[in-house]
Amino acid sequence: MRDVAVVSYACSSVARDPVHNETEMIGPVLREAMAQSGVAKGDIGFVCSGSLDYLQGGPFAFVAGLDAVGAWPPVRESHVEMDAAWALYEAWVAIQTGEVDTALVYGFGKSTPGDLHEIMSLQLDPYYLLPLWPSMVDMAALQASALLEADGATERELAEVAARSQRNATANPNAVRKGEASADDIVRQPVTHHPLRDADIFPITDGVAAVVLAADETARRACKRPAWIRSIEHRIEAHSVGVRDLTRSESTRAAALAAGVANGKVDIAELHAQFSHEELILVDALGLDAEKTSINPSGGALAANPVMSAGLARIGEVARRITNGEADRGVAHAASGPCLQQNLVCVLEGD
C-alpha cells in the first residue's frame, strides 16, 4: 500500500448563501486548498467530487462545478452522488493503483434552495417508504425513539451532545450553530420532532469542502506534517430500517475493526452525526472512550452540516489538527443513507 496523506483542507459553510450559485461557492474553497498544498493545478492527477443533483434541482447539475476546477487540459475526473468522503475514498483508491500521485477532492451543496428534509426522502425504498414521504428528520427520530426506548441513551445525554457541539463550535469560524447553552437549557426546550429537540437536529447549511491528497514524497513536499491516511474502510447495512437493530451501528463497528481504530490512541474523533443520538451510537460502535478522545472538537455536523461535504469535512478537520500538531492520531467518520445505513471510517496519523 502506498502512503497517502491529506496535505491540505479548506471549507466554507454558512446558514444560507443567497448570492452565489454552487460554482461561485466552490471556486474560493478549491483555490485555498490548492494554495495550501502548493501542488500546481496542472500536477493534480485526479479530481473527484461528491454532491447531490437533487439539491440543485437538475440532472447532472454537478457538472457545472467543474467550471471551478478549470478542467483544461482535460483532467481525469469522477463524481459520486453522495458525500464527498466517498469521493475521497475513490481518490485514495486511484492513488493506490499507482496511476496518479495526487488528487483534488471536493464536496458541495446548498441545502437552502429546496426542502432538504423532503429531498432526502427520495433516497428511500421507492415501493414501501417513499409513497409515505417520511422526511430525513422523521427517519432519524425513529432511530432516536428506538435508542431511548432500549435505554441506550437518555434525553439528557442527547442534550449533553447538543450542548457540547455548540460550545466546541464557538471556536469554529465555519460553524452555523454555536453557543453556550447547557444541557439543562436544552432539556427545557420543547420536543419538536419526538423525541428530538431542535438542538438535537443539524442546522440547515450551504457549504463546500475541499482536500488535496498526495502520496509518499509528494506529500512530504506539500505539507510540513502530512496527515497520513493509515486506513480507510466503509461498510453498508440493509436499507430497511425495520430489519436493522437501530440502537447499534454494525457497519460502523465493522468498518472500525477493519480500519484498526483500536490499534492506537485516538486523540480526536470527528463524527458525521447529524443528530445528537447518532453521536452516541457512533461512539459506541467505534469503541471510543470519551475520557481519552476529544469528540467533534469542530462542533461536528450539529454545528454546520453542509450536506454532501460534511463527511469530507470531518476528514479535513482531523487532518488539520494533526498537521497543526494538536493531535497525533485521529478518527474521522462519514455517514450516508437513512439511520446510519452506510458508514465510512478513516484513521489519520502524523509522523
Binding site: G57, V69, E149, H194
Partner: protein
Amino acid sequence: MTDVFTAHHVIEYPGGYTRSVGPVIGRFLTGLRDGKLLAVRLADGRVLVPPTEYDPTTSADIQPEGDHWIEVGPRGTVQAFTWVDEPRAGKHPLQKPFAFALIRPDGADTAMLHMVDCGSADAIRVGSRVAPRWRSEREGFITDIEAWMPLGDGEEPQPAPLHVPAEDEQPVTGITVPIRLEYTLNAGVATTRYLRGLGEGKIIGGRAPSSDEVYAASRGTDPKSGEPTSIEVEVRDTGVITTFCVVNVPGLSELAPEIPYVSAQILLDGANNTFFGLIRGCEVDDVHMGMRVKAHWADELIADHTAIKWFEPTGERDAPYEHYKDYL
C-alpha cells in the same frame, strides 16, 4: 452586487413516476389489495415483512412462490415512533397530525414503517398495540392500509372490506408514485449579470484577467482555468452556426415552434464559446454549418431567456471553416 435573480423551480413527474415492482414486492402488494399482510420466512427462520427480493443478511434470492410465504398480523406492536405535527400538503397521505412508526406485525420478526392515526402524540407509545385500517377501494399500494389504529384492550381489529376483483384482474406488477419537489433557485452573480444584459438588449460575457477568452453568458468561471470571469465583456448578437439539429419531436417546450424546426449552437462574434438558439427565417433544409445569423430580439425585453426569440440568417457569405473549426 447582492441583488441576484431568483426563480421558482419545480421538478415533477406529472401523473406520477411508474415503476414495475417485480414478483416479490408484487405479491406483497397483491396481498394488500386482498386485505392481507404477507411476509416471508427466511432461511434462518426469521419472518421478514415487508418482503424484499433478497434476504437482508445473506443476499440469497427470495422466491415469489413457495411455502415460505405466510400471513402475519393484523395486530402489531409499535417499536419506535415520531410525531408529525404539520403534514406536508400533497405528500403525506394523512393530512392531519399523525405518527410515523415502526410496527412489528404479530408473527413477524421485523418491523414495517407506516403511519399511526391516533389523534395526538400522547396516544401512542413504544409498545402500543395497533391494527390496520384498510381502505375500502384498494389498488395494491402501501396506502391500501390507510393507517394503523390503536387497539384497545380486547378490541378486535376491523376486518378489511372485501376486495371485489375487477374482471380479468392480474397480480400487481407496478405502482405509480407522485413525485414533486420545489425550489427557489438563485442565479448567482454572473448569470444575474447576463440576464440583466438580455433585458437591455445585450449579450453579456465574461473573461478571466489571465485569459483573452470571452465566454458568452458566462456562469462566472473560466472553464479552462477555474478563475472568476470578473471582466464583463459584451459580445455581438451576430455569429456563425457551428452545429445544429433539426427537431422533429413536437411539444418539447412552450417556446418551441411547429416541427420541424432547427436548434443550433452559434459562435457569436467576440465570444470563445457557442451559444444556443433557435433558427428561423429560412427553410429547415437551408440551415448549414458556417451560416451567418443575427439575433431576433423580442419587442418588449424582459431580463430572461425570452429576450432573444431566435436567430435568423443575415444573407452574408458563409464564414470559412477555419473560423469555427475549434468550436465543434
